[in-house]
Symmetry: C2
Subunit: 481 residues, 2 copies
């Protein structure tokens, strides 16, 4: 049963930790910075994996698996890459009881080990494109950790593709950030802003990083997925050339893209409340709980509950019955609210007499009287669909209400404590760095969405919020997880 | 296209390597002993995972994820466990640029890290049972590696369960070895012998290890899955006690069980031939390839091929068309035989005129004329079902033909070069060890299957094949992968 969860407006960080622990989503382990993803949390990851994996395959990708270990000399082959990743790696120095001749890094990301294979597989344009994804664990040594959001080990998928032309690579980069956007919006019910990162925020080794950024309930930003155009950087580092159609020789063009278990953290922070988890129905492995009110002829109530559960399951609505007598209905209500089951159905002897049941939506708390009978599955599906849609709309409204356009640095500093700030930037790393130093806010994204660009006039010239110098465009600033 | 594959009767080991490389199932990586599982190989693993995961969930298990790293002190808590595993571990000594206070082992198996969590989760009998499975990568430093069968890193699943009574734990052990057996026989079309390991062959830290053993085409044995009764060993090592129903205090009873990507190696070695991979239809992600013979009105032939593919896919038969003109039909036949597509359908303009197509089964090479029309999907499904069944029967016949009962040590030594040998054993580790030294054969399994026991009189007393001392039972010896 639920331990007490701190209220969001009291201490947002503590609320998050309390929720993750009480709902049994994850635990810290005895290994510094590493988490245990408990069955309730892992079930969310499985739903995410299934949806993403299907979307990857629909866009022509296949899965494969590359080694966990990366020789030190590989990491060193791409200059920016080693600078970015080497300091946060775990290093294996001994194996099979002996000291290794060359140290092995536990992968923080797999570009180098994968390109050492691609080099062997690619001779000609006929071997291209390669469209591979990998589901794997990665390790990045973290000093300050937070369950799901920032841990030393986490689970993710990483796509690594190889192309014959830069145009094809860029197309892939945009296709995959589009897949992530669709996933965030349609499955996670989480609005995101899609766009580019600044040079100082891009992936170590990339030419360009595209991202989707979401707003959490405390107004902070969370990067929910990235797609990198790697140009020919890794092909050059691994001397991977191919024979072109017109018999020339060129380096291969590359992309990589990934999302991780931090999406579970994003999902929690975007939607959940002081009573516990709120899950969009599409990512709930258990969508409906039926709680029979066991009075009068208990067996009859139980039989009705089971009959309804069967009817719902047959229509593809994942339903279970909790008819235990060990806990009271009130206890069960609280427990399944904590666990984020999207719809609760209460069913007592008097309801059965009247031919009805009471459904309660987890997001709004709304209670709806539904008729028992053939139409019930369609009615319940309707509730789930409405919930999925309204959760998105609510989060979008929240983002819009907490997005401010600032024209002075004073305005900027105040607003960035509460949400996203749209402001002009002169395009220099110096202004970007100074703003970060003084406010802890970073440039989250330079939007690439027509709707967003138009709404906030992102491409209108103006003066930089920091330097006062001419600025060609506005960007989105926020503090971030 | 296929490189030349060495014939099995010429050099079985080389045949295996040639096949794995030519069919693009896996590659050695640049990291010693680690493999790259290529998309064709990983697709088999995905089919295996899907079937096993469903079977695990049907038996009440849920998935979770525990850390990759295990503190040295944890591994050391169970005496037999550290003795068995520590010498083959990869060890992380540095993280985030600094030397670690305590070394971290990359998990060779997860009993210790998982029981350090279970200790926190279990207080009372009401917290039991815990029925958790994990899909993960593990590392065991190997000196001599072989793709899929023995690599430093491999993928697997490991179930770890916690119970209130020894009876319940033993029931779980038998349930899961039963699941593996069903999977091996019904999905992999691979007959197995289920039974117990001797003390010297059991898992380091287990009370009892149950296994399934399969015969490869060279007569060697391959352990295809294990299920361990861990007794209270790990609960004691981690001081994990629980309040019993009658308010007593007891240590928790444990099991663990696993199968790994070595099953892909088993699948290849059990069924494939000199032309390439032979896959049981249930584990083929692509079950039917349609190869249109592009003569006459090519577009009409293509349209027919696509129409048939659509009809088959709609009936759940995974079908694709290769209508490229870059390669000849003959080239395609060889390529898809190499890749192990279970059924090939050839379709030319004259076939269409006659209202037929020619289907070829990958396992037997048999060609069957099928009528085009509504019945076609059912006919093709019939071929796939027959193939699945006959592959199992063929492998079973092979095992029976290569199983010998030996009554003298001379007979034994000759027979064990070719297949399984059933012989009396006096039950001492000394005889077992001597036989291993002299012949390289080990006791693979003490069968627990009524049918097998009866057929070979496994429980009849006799004299030990090695010592001549009284022996209470026969056991199965073989050389093994």
């Amino acid at each position: 049963m639920a331990d007490k969860i701190t209220a969001r407006n009291e201490d947002y960080s503590q609320w998050y930790i309390d929720l993750v622990r009480s709902a049994k989503l994850a635990d810290y382990s005895d290994v510094r910075g590493c988490m245990v993803i408990r069955p309730n949390g892992y079930a969310i990851w499985e739903k995410m994996q299934a949806a993403l994996d299907r979307m990857f395959k629909e866009t022509g990708h296949v899965n494969a698996y590359f080694p966990l270990f990366i020789p030190e000399s590989f990491i060193a082959k791409e200059a920016e890459h080693i600078e970015g990743f080497a300091p946060e790696c775990a290093v294996v120095t001994h194996g099979g009881g002996e000291e290794l001749a060359e140290k092995l890094y536990v992968r923080p990301t797999s570009e180098t080990i994968i390109w050492s294979s691609y080099k062997k597989w690619i001779q000609s344009y006929r071997d291209l494109p390669i469209l591979i994804n990998q589901w794997a664990n990665v390790v990045r040594w973290e000093m300050r950790t937070r369950l799901f959001l920032r841990t030393t080990e986490f689970l993710w998928q990483e796509g690594h593709t190889a192309h014959a032309t830069p145009e094809e690579a860029q197309e892939e980069v945009m296709r995959m950030i589009g897949v992530y956007r669709t996933f965030a919006e349609e499955y996670m019910a989480m609005p995101v802003i899609m766009g580019r990162k600044t040079d100082s925020e891009k992936f170590a080794g990339a030419e360009e990083t595209y991202c989707i950024e979401a707003m959490m309930q405390d107004g902070k930003a969370l990067q929910a997925g990235t797609s990198h155009n790697l140009g020919q950087n890794f092909a050059k580092a691994f001397d991977c050339q191919f024979q072109t159609k017109d018999s020339g020789l060129d380096y291969v063009w590359a992309t990589s893209w990934g999302v991780s278990t931090r999406l579970i953290g994003a999902l929690i922070m975007a939607h959940s409340d002081d009573r516990g988890l709120v899950l969009p129905p599409k990512l709930a492995s258990r969508q409906v709980v039926i709680i029979p009110i066991l009075r009068g002829d208990k067996e009859e109530v139980r039989a009705h509950a089971r009959f309804i559960a069967k009817a719902l399951n047959q229509k593809g609505i994942a339903t279970f019955v909790d008819d235990s007598e060990q806990n009271s209905p009130g206890w069960k209500f609280a427990e399944y609210e904590l666990q984020g089951i999207p719809v609760r159905i209460e069913l007592g002897p008097r309801d059965i007499e009247k031919g009805i049941c009471i459904a309660a939506r987890r997001d709004s708390g709304e209670k709806i009287e539904l008729q028992l009978g053939e139409e019930l599955p369609a009615e319940v599906q309707g509730l789930l669909d409405a919930m999925q849609k309204e959760m998105y709309q609510k989060a979008l409204r929240f983002r819009e209400e907490n997005t401010v356009e600032a024209t002075t640095y004073e305005e900027f500093k105040e607003a960035v404590e509460k949400g996203f700030v749209i402001a002009h930037w002169d395009g220099t790393p110096e202004s970007e760095e100074k703003i970060k130093e003084e406010t802890k806010a970073t440039i989250r994204v330079m939007p690439e969405e027509a709707g967003y660009i138009e709404r906030y006039g992102m491409h209108e010239p103006g003066t930089c919020i920091y330097s006062g110098n001419p600025a060609a465009r506005k960007v989105v600033f926020a503090k971030a997880y």
